[in-house]
Amino acid sequence: MVNFNDSKITVENLNFYYGKVQALFDINMKISEKKVTALIGPSGCGKSTFLRMFNRMNDIIDGTHHTGSVLIDNRDIYKDGIDIVALRKKVGMVFQKSNPFPKSVFDNAAYGPRIHGVKDKANLYEIVEKSLKDAAIWNEVKDRLDENAMGLSGGQQQRLCIARALAVEPEILLMDEPASALDPKSTARIEDLIGTLKQKYTIIIVTHNMQQASRVSDYTAFFYEGKLIEYDYTDKIFRNPEIKQTEDYITGRFG
């Protein structure tokens, strides 16, 4: 397994429970900065649950608890007294189904900065323009910033959601199957975008799509039934996995 000396995220002995049902089992994992790490595995293997640990989105589900720790920049994000607002500003998230707010394109991108206290109009416009450019959607929407975001195509909506996440200047970007509901062309655009974004952001992406994981990621972690089975360079995982289960999944024998 890979091990980094200078990891952005360190997960230690993590167990997670929905009520009495255990969803994650004793996970230890380090995630490298400014790289793309893909989490793969069959449905219900816990990869999305694991992803939602990093911005504490599991907190909003009643009756969940965990043991072990998740460290970002060597600070335990589950320690008492941690500022969740600051955490979520630092760790952005893009969801499986594009979920722009029923507001204008501009207001969508400006939502995060406004929440965090940016009031100045010129400043706000600058942030919006920059994040829309970074999400490779600026050229398509620059003349329709005042239109409702619900009128955009599915692929555009998803890139707008990425722009919305980028607008609060996160360091880490969590992506939960960001292209699973999109057509191949839109998917390709999102994948290109991920390639550019990793220069600035640490990206963790959950995906069902094996080709996608091999195309976009530097490292791949294979999850099965809540356990981390194998974690290595993407090349290694896809060419020469060490564990039989990983090989079976990747070659499509189950899952």
């Binding site: 989105m57 607002v85 952005g92 969801f95 979920n99 707010f101 929440i115 959601c161 609060v168």
Partner: protein, 277 residues
């Protein structure tokens, strides 16, 4: 089954036709102009007058005050119940709101007469506690379950994904509620308020008991007023059938029906548009 279903439509039409039939004699004598004047003096030794402006102003004043009370209380309560309240709080609150909806209006009116009106009289140092404000407070109380229940439905049907997106951007729960959830539910909330208003404007017993029944044009919440509904209820019993006064009361009924109809239709339209999205 189709007969049962269409019965209500037929009945509404029959009511309207009957109202019109009884109201028509007024057109030829003394003429519709008589309605649009500012004195309602149906019984007089000199000249009877049937101006409905004071009655409309009474209804509008009471409805406006009640709505001003309804909006903050109804909407905030709906937000609280659907977004903030814990499970056991909901289990206590919701049955009480349903009970409130089920209290007979005459009981609320009696409560207003005996408890609320002396309080208002003392609080604002008035000659009488039977004012538009007294009626409006009680009407708001009666309509609030409607507003809460329908607003709550609207708030609860806002997709969870909006809230998640907002929280994931670092918004607090309150910021998420007021910047995302409530705006997204706004059409439903507006429809809820309009249905509540329809309830208020059509309510009779409470206003008859506590608003003082003075038919004069006034926009002061501390004045006694007389609403359209109270006028019909109070006078229909003693009027000579077929007289001008009788026919005038039917005109009041027609106008009231048109107003409530309008409110309901607009509310339904807003709700429908909202469900399409």
């Amino acid at each position: 089954m189709s007969i049962a279903a269409s019965a209500s439509i037929i009945i509404v039409f029959l009511i309207f036709i009957f109202l019109l039939k009884e109201a028509i004699p007024f057109i030829s004598n003394p003429g519709l102009n008589e309605l649009f004047s500012s004195n309602w003096i149906p019984v007089s030794f000199q000249k009877e007058q049937f101006g409905i402006y004071p009655l409309i102003s009474g209804s509008v004043l009471v409805t406006v005050i009640a709505t001003v009370l309804l909006i903050p209380f109804g909407v905030i309560a709906a937000v609280y119940i659907s977004e903030i309240a814990l499970g056991f709080e909901k289990e206590i609150l919701k049955p009480f709101i349903e009970i409130l909806a089920g209290i007979p209006s005459v009981v609320i009116g009696f409560f207003g007469l005996v408890v609320l009106s002396p309080i208002i009289k003392g609080l604002f140092n008035l000659n009488t506690g039977l004012t538009a404000l007294t009626g409006a407070v009680l009407l708001a109380l009666m309509a609030i379950p409607t507003v809460i229940t329908i607003s709550e439905d609207a708030i609860r049907s806002v997709p969870k994904s909006y809230k998640e997106a907002s929280l994931a951007l670092g918004a607090s729960r309150l910021q998420t509620i007021f910047r995302i959830t409530v705006p997204a539910a706004l059409p439903g909330i507006i429809a809820a308020i309009m249905l509540g208003m329809g309830r208020v404007i059509g309510e009779t017993m409470v206003v008859l008991m506590v608003t003082g029944n003075a038919a004069k044009i006034s926009w002061n919440p501390f004045d006694s007023v007389r609403t359209m509904t109270a006028t019909i209820a109070a006078e229909m019993g003693e009027v000579a059938i077929g007289s001008t006064h009788y026919s005038a009361l039917f005109w009041v009924g027609i106008i009231l029906m048109i107003i409530t109809f309008g409110l309901n239709i607009v509310a339904q339209k807003v709700l429908k548009k909202y469900q399409m999205r």
